[in-house]
């Protein structure tokens, strides 16, 4: 595992040459995926604690490669491309540390450290002047919510003398509601769930394409991953607060989906769809059943790839048309028909159509939530229906329609863009049988 951290830090030597950096990332992903069998648990050795860490680490390497490939315009038109690449690789190193560590305090340190690159990416390479306030929103929401997490970790350290994930499950002998909220609040804001979600649409709209991709693809999953790691310790208080958290998740998810349909900015629409998907993740974590946790992992991986792909598509439109407004972007099926294929595939995957693993994750989570309370079928059904509605709205608004006056400088997808989108879609479809083995 350490070899990957070192490989990532050696990539700092290649900041001027983007081609070599991306090549190394692909090679790293290959070795990570294939060259580690025979080490025992979860395809890799004892630094990687289990299958979920492995999947999320793989996802972060892959999304970083995609993000750099998508951002070649930064090299030509924007300033400080070496710093851009450096921030991306630095973020990867800390993400690998956070997903690969078995110590809760180390996880916290890496969790906080990943905030700095995304803050600088949004602030430095974003598009509008509103990016300043958006990056502050991102930073302060997450920091304010995660300070209680630090206090909770120190509390656990002093009462139990160990912060290792293995021992956290053994120490749950008492239920303490204060500790419950201390530990969980940071992850609720990071996921984000409905009441702590305000930073997400702002940050996504103002971020550059690469920033949005890594934010939606991996950084939101830090919240879900942290929750799954911490829940064994606070399990006894979970039943006390489960009805509250479940209602926040269910009703918040439906509300976020309804708000989603009303968005006029494409990026804001995809950002709110992330809120709705992550509400499902909270659902699975709170229910704490095997099916629920399998659904959580599946939704995290598949949402990472799908959302990242959607942000790439919106970024391509923004580069060409200079606008992200749903009202102005239309008739892409006549202007760029090859991109319509990708728009269609990502839109239907986002609405959990087969054969995407989003469907698998939603089915697992529906099973677990209906098992918890039958009436939740109305709310998760509503969430799924609204997901279909806003994805259909996004696709039909952007692709269909009569010709628009913005079509003068519109070109179809270049080879690079096709490659990025293919590399999002192919693992997505190929992962379906792999993810279905989670809950054997």
């Amino acid at each position: 595992m350490l070899k990957f951290i070192l490989m990532g830090s050696c990539m700092t030597l290649f900041f001027s040459n983007w081609g070599v950096a991306v090549t190394l990332l692909f090679f790293m992903a290959f070795v990570f995926g294939v060259g580690m069998s025979g080490f025992g648990l979860g395809l890799v050795n004892l630094i990687q604690v289990d299958l979920m860490s492995y999947f999320l680490s793989y996802l972060s390497i892959w999304i970083l490669a995609m993000m750099i490939m998508m951002s070649f315009y930064v090299k030509d038109h924007k300033s400080f491309p070496e710093v851009f690449l450096g921030l991306g690789v630095g973020m990867l190193i800390f993400l690998l540390v956070s997903f690969g560590t078995s110590d809760l305090l180390m996880y916290y340190i890496a969790f906080e450290t990943t905030l700095i690159p995304i803050f600088l990416l949004v602030m430095g390479w974003g598009y509008q002047p509103e990016r300043i306030s958006a990056s502050y929103f991102l930073l302060f929401y997450t920091l304010a919510a995660s300070l209680p997490l630090l206090l909770g970790i120190l509390w656990v350290n002093f009462t139990d003398c160990s912060l290792d994930y293995f021992f956290l499950g053994q120490g749950a002998q008492f239920s303490n509601p204060i500790l419950f909220w201390l530990m969980l609040l940071a992850f609720l804001v990071k996921l984000p769930v409905y009441f702590g979600h305000l930073w997400l649409p702002k940050a996504h709209v103002e971020a550059p394409v690469a920033g949005s991709m890594i934010l939606a693809g991996v950084l939101l999953k830090l919240g879900g991953y942290g929750m799954v790691r911490v829940v064994p310790y606070i399990e006894l208080s979970l039943s006390e607060f489960s009805s509250f958290l479940m209602s926040v998740s269910l009703v918040g998810g439906v509300t976020a989906s309804v708000i989603c349909i009303r968005q006029t900015d494409c990026k804001s629409l995809v950002a709110y769809s992330s809120v709705a998907h992550m509400a499902l993740v909270l659902l699975g974590v709170v229910i704490n059943s095997s099916v629920g946790l399998a659904g959580v992992v599946t939704i995290m991986i598949s949402h990472g790839l799908c959302s990242s792909g959607l942000f790439s598509l919106v970024g391509m439109i923004y580069e060409r048309m200079g606008t992200r407004s749903i009202i102005l972007i239309r008739s892409l099926i006549t202007l760029a028909p090859l991109s319509t294929l990708w728009w269609f595939l990502f839109a239907i995957s986002n609405m959990a159509a087969p054969p995407s693993p989003n469907l698998l994750g939603e089915i697992y989570l529906f099973i677990s939530s209906i098992g918890w309370w039958g009436g939740s079928s109305l709310l998760v059904g509503g969430l799924s229906f609204m997901a279909g509605a806003y994805n259909l709205f996004l696709f039909v608004s952007t692709q269909h329609g009569t010709d628009s006056f913005l079509s003068n400088s519109m070109g179809d997808c270049s080879f690079r863009e096709h490659l990025v989108l293919f590399l999002h879609m192919a693992p997505f479809i190929l992962l379906f049988p792999v993810l279905s083995h989670l809950f054997l």
């Binding site: 081609g19 090679f27 979860g42 030509d76 080879f415 690079r416 490659l419």
Partner: protein, 156 residues
């Protein structure tokens, strides 16, 4: 007054109407010009290129279709396209899928299924229950006698 100014503007278009009359003055004869006195003196420039061509300038002039990676240098663009396709698709997706499908039995999944079938066959042949409620054989368990226990309370 206005008429004077406005009719002045007719002069331009009027010339276009008058032009057909002038066409008759144009010589369209293709026979050799016997009375031509002008002589062409300057040399016709040769089309052979004698100086070194700058590669980038040549490719810019050649109007190559970019792969999308860079618009400045064709060589770099083609190289990046080939590199990323090789490493991204061939290496990671194709060979990665191959390794996953044909790799060794990860997490002993196939072994456990085979072992389960073998054990079921074995137990059915011996007439034993498929899943014994006791983890260990009851005859091997040695319980302490009443004197050893004394007043120790046993809660089940």
């Amino acid at each position: 007054m206005a008429f004077v100014v406005r009719s002045g503007r007719l002069a331009g278009p009027l010339r276009n109407y008058l032009r057909p009359i002038a066409i008759g003055n144009r010589c369209i004869s293709t026979s050799k010009k016997k009375d031509e006195t002008a002589v062409v003196t300057e040399k016709i420039p040769s089309h052979k290129v004698t100086h070194d061509i700058d590669v980038a300038a040549a490719s810019a002039r050649k109007k190559w279709m970019t792969y999308g990676f860079t618009t400045q240098d064709e060589t770099e663009d083609v190289a990046l396209a080939h590199l990323f396709s090789l490493f991204g698709i061939t290496l990671c997706i194709v060979i990665g899928s191959l390794a996953y499908m044909y790799g060794p039995d990860h997490a002993l999944r196939d072994w456990s299924q085979r072992e389960a079938y073998l054990l079921v066959r074995e137990r059915e042949a011996k007439g034993l229950p498929l899943l014994d409620p006791n983890y260990v054989d009851e005859s091997t368990v040695v319980l302490p006698s009443e004197e050893d226990l004394g007043a120790y309370e046993i809660i089940i």
